[in-house]
Amino acid sequence: MCCLKSWPYWILIVVICATWVLPEIPYYQDWMPYGYELGGIALVVMYLSFGCWSLGLYGFVMGGLSWRSDSLKSRLAFKVGLAALFLAIGLVLCYLKLMHLTLSV
């Protein structure tokens, strides 16, 4: 369980998202629409959501691991994790809206 506290696991989540998940998401194109078409911003938002997914999972796992030993630490980790997961969902919805707007113009 202690190994879950090291960085490779949490970076690996982001790596998997960027390599395999990103090309599969709706509206994704290899070459994003640039300029004022919001496509580039949508892509940045999607990348930010990957960081939030990994932070959210980290918060939940660390909160769970320190549940018995330290309730204060555990509560902080859960709080960070929950906020990050909500933010990740919001960012994905934002990406979809931005891409929808871009392609409907």
């Binding site: 998202c17 395999w20 640039y34 980790a77 990050a84």
Partner: protein, 237 residues
């Protein structure tokens, strides 16, 4: 055996706490991790060659680098909220990571349609004045302020860290060295290669090394920040 002076008696310290050893260990771990994920990306995607995986624009390695920089940005923002006593430091580091991530995604080219990196473009009448002023007001000035704050904060601690031989300073120096190497390969390489008569192969090879080093830099930055991020999320300090 390494010693540190504590009071009058020298105290032996273990190899794992030696800054040089720690920095080297992190760099080796990061290199192995980056090689592993690059091989995994080649194996797991249907891309035909290494060039498509490593050196292509918007290829897996470039996407990974950008995602890791932006991951660092979100984690540092969360650390600023979790560790209020170090909020300024975390916010400035987050801004730096965001800039690196956006640069990796070529935001300096697509955000306005003209290259924000080229200084000459700022007084080029070909581009609308309001755009140039907006970029200066919303990007250049905030970046200068953030850079200034970061430099001020670093200046206070860098001298102490140098004499105390602290680990973060070694990590910072290695990071800067990798960054300088990347910039040199990117800017100087194309001019040197024709002189060495390496041709197209040399160009691609150089691009592959540069993109890979950019990935190493992104991962190394997160690995260096990791103990401090953990401290912040544990509610220490």
């Amino acid at each position: 055996m390494f010693f540190t002076q504590s009071g009058s008696r020298p105290q032996p310290i273990s190899e794992t706490h030696n800054p040089i050893f720690l920095c080297r260990k992190h760099l080796v771990q990061v290199m192995i991790f980056c090689m592993a994920v690059t091989v995994l990306a080649k194996w797991g995607t249907a891309l035909p060659g290494w060039r498509d995986v490593i050196a292509s624009e918007n290829g897996p390695v470039e996407r990974m680098s950008a995602a890791i920089w932006l991951m660092g940005f979100t984690w540092c923002l969360a650390a600023a909220l979790a560790q209020r006593t170090r909020a300024v430091e975390w916010l400035t580091v987050a801004m730096v990571l965001l800039l690196f991530g956006l640069r990796e995604l070529d935001a300096h080219r697509w955000s306005t349609g003209w290259n924000l990196d080229k200084l000459a473009n700022y007084w080029n009448p070909q581009f609308p004045l309001h755009e140039r002023l907006l970029v200066i007001g919303l990007m250049v000035l905030p970046c200068l302020i953030v850079g200034g704050v970061l430099c001020l904060r670093l200046r206070k601690t860098i001298g102490q860290a140098w004499f105390a031989d602290e680990s973060w300073l070694r990590h910072l120096m290695v990071g800067v060295a990798i960054l300088v190497l990347c910039v040199t390969l990117d800017k100087v390489g194309p001019y040197v290669l024709p002189l060495l008569a390496f041709g197209d192969f040399g160009q691609v090879f150089l691009m592959e090394i540069e993109e890979f080093l950019e990935l190493v830099l992104a991962v190394f930055t997160i690995a260096s920040l990791w103990p401090y991020l953990q401290k912040a999320f544990n509610g220490d300090g």
